[in-house]
Amino acid sequence: MQVSRGGALILWRGTAQAGDGFEQVALPHLDAIYRVALRLTRNRAEAEDVVQEACLRAFRGFHRFNPGTNVRAWLFTIARNVFLNRLRREGREVTADGATLESERESTTGEASAGGSPEEEFFQTVLHGDVDRALNTLPLAFREVIVLVDLEELSYKEAAEVVGCPVGTVMSRLSRGRRLLRVSLAHFAREHGYLRERA
């Protein structure tokens, strides 16, 4: 089942020589790195800084890149580390683990995704801006796995490597994150009047 998701993600590189081939291998994924950085930082200027620093680090560490593995996952990992380092440097809260978040959210969200619930009907009417808003309100631990798996189409295993946690954790964060996302989207749909309140 899980062969090449999203097409030719996997690139092979021959010999590793002082950053040779970096532009050809890594720069085609600049848009994807930028998108991920944008979702992590939720701020364009900061995202650009993260991407720029990440690319320079990736260039310097290009000899450590393992040919045959997913280039984008490798680049995302670097960008995420740059982002987290910035958070720590600036004394902002880092919840990379997300374990506490998950348990907190579990109690407040309930089981909103039960089949046949009203939320299922509004998918066609969701506005792009709503998904942005809903994603941006998600805690980092959930947001990042949704961005990696749903938006950038990484496999669970690749996402687990980027985030540095077991595949099982990715799976549970993904299902809870999606659930939270649907609750937010349903809320926005109600605001727009697309979804009528049902008793």
């Binding site: 002082a18 950053g19 532009e23 998918f123 749903d150 938006l151 669970y156 993904l174």
Partner: protein
């Protein structure tokens, strides 16, 4: 597979992350269970919704900055590999020495000029305009001929024989040129009035409390210094030690005479 089992695997199932056997079982259950088929359908629809999101491109200016960054980093890596790989710092240190040597060896204009004159005079049969082994006679000759007050040191105790003197030009001004010989090795002593503004950027050595520029030009040894009134250059195939000793004696003699 029953409803609960499918529900537990719903996300990996729609994501295509289930092993083949489980996927087949889930397919079979969903085909037979409308309720589960609906859940699967909704979940897939939700995933499609997320994937429909516009995919932003990185700003062109950001791309340009990164391309420039990478080019700069690559240039640096090639010019100075140890900046990128600290492990080769030791090798780099050796390289620095090799790179610096030509710099140290690059002669200052004055010293290079003196060395060239030394080479030229060494090839001339009668390099001296006045041939004499008497320091006092040569000093008198310079004073009468060019109004130069020249101290002609006597190196004979060291086996360095005075051959003679001539007027030379260095830095486009008249200079005193003294010829000595030790065995068959020529020693040239140049005295140029004034202080050379750019004597020599290379190696400095301190000998008997004074600093000298010491350098090799075209295989010849040169020692040069300024004493505030004139600039001096000694050129020879003799050792640096011998040149420094000659320089120190000349210096000492000038100081002694100046105090009289």
């Amino acid at each position: 597979m029953n409803c609960a089992e499918l529900q537990a695997r719903l996300h990996p199932y729609v994501d295509g992350e289930l092993p083949v056997a489980e996927t087949t079982a889930a397919d079979a259950h969903a085909a037979a269970c409308p309720s589960c088929a609906a859940r699967v359908g909704h979940e897939r629809e939700f995933r499609r919704l997320l994937r429909r999101q516009p995919r932003e491109a990185a700003p062109p200016e950001l791309r340009a900055r990164i391309v420039a960054d990478v080019r700069r980093a690559r240039r640096r890596a090639r010019a100075a590999p140890w900046l990128v790989a600290p492990a080769v710092a030791a090798a780099a240190a050796a390289l620095v020495v090799v790179l610096l040597l030509p710099v140290l060896r690059r002669p200052a204009p004055l010293v290079a000029e003196l060395v060239n004159k030394h080479i030229a005079y060494a090839q001339v049969e009668r390099a001296a305009e006045i041939t004499s082994g008497d320091p006092a006679a040569l000093e008198e000759w310079f004073r009468q001929r060019a109004g130069l007050r020249v101290v002609v040191p006597d190196y004979s105790p060291s086996g360095i024989r005075l051959l003679g003197a001539r007027l030379a030009e260095a830095h486009e001004q008249r200079a005193a040129y003294l010829l000595y010989e030790k065995g068959h090795t020529l020693l040239s002593v140049f005295m140029v009035p004034g202080v050379a503004t750019e004597l020599e950027p290379g190696a400095r050595v301190t000998y008997r409390g004074h600093e000298y520029a010491q350098l090799e030009v075209k295989g010849y040894h040169a020692v040069a210094w300024s004493d505030g009134r004139a600039t001096f250059g000694l050129v020879s195939m003799l050792s640096y030690d011998a040149l420094l000793e000659c320089a120190a004696r000349l210096r000492a003699e000038r100081e002694q005479r100046a105090s009289l």
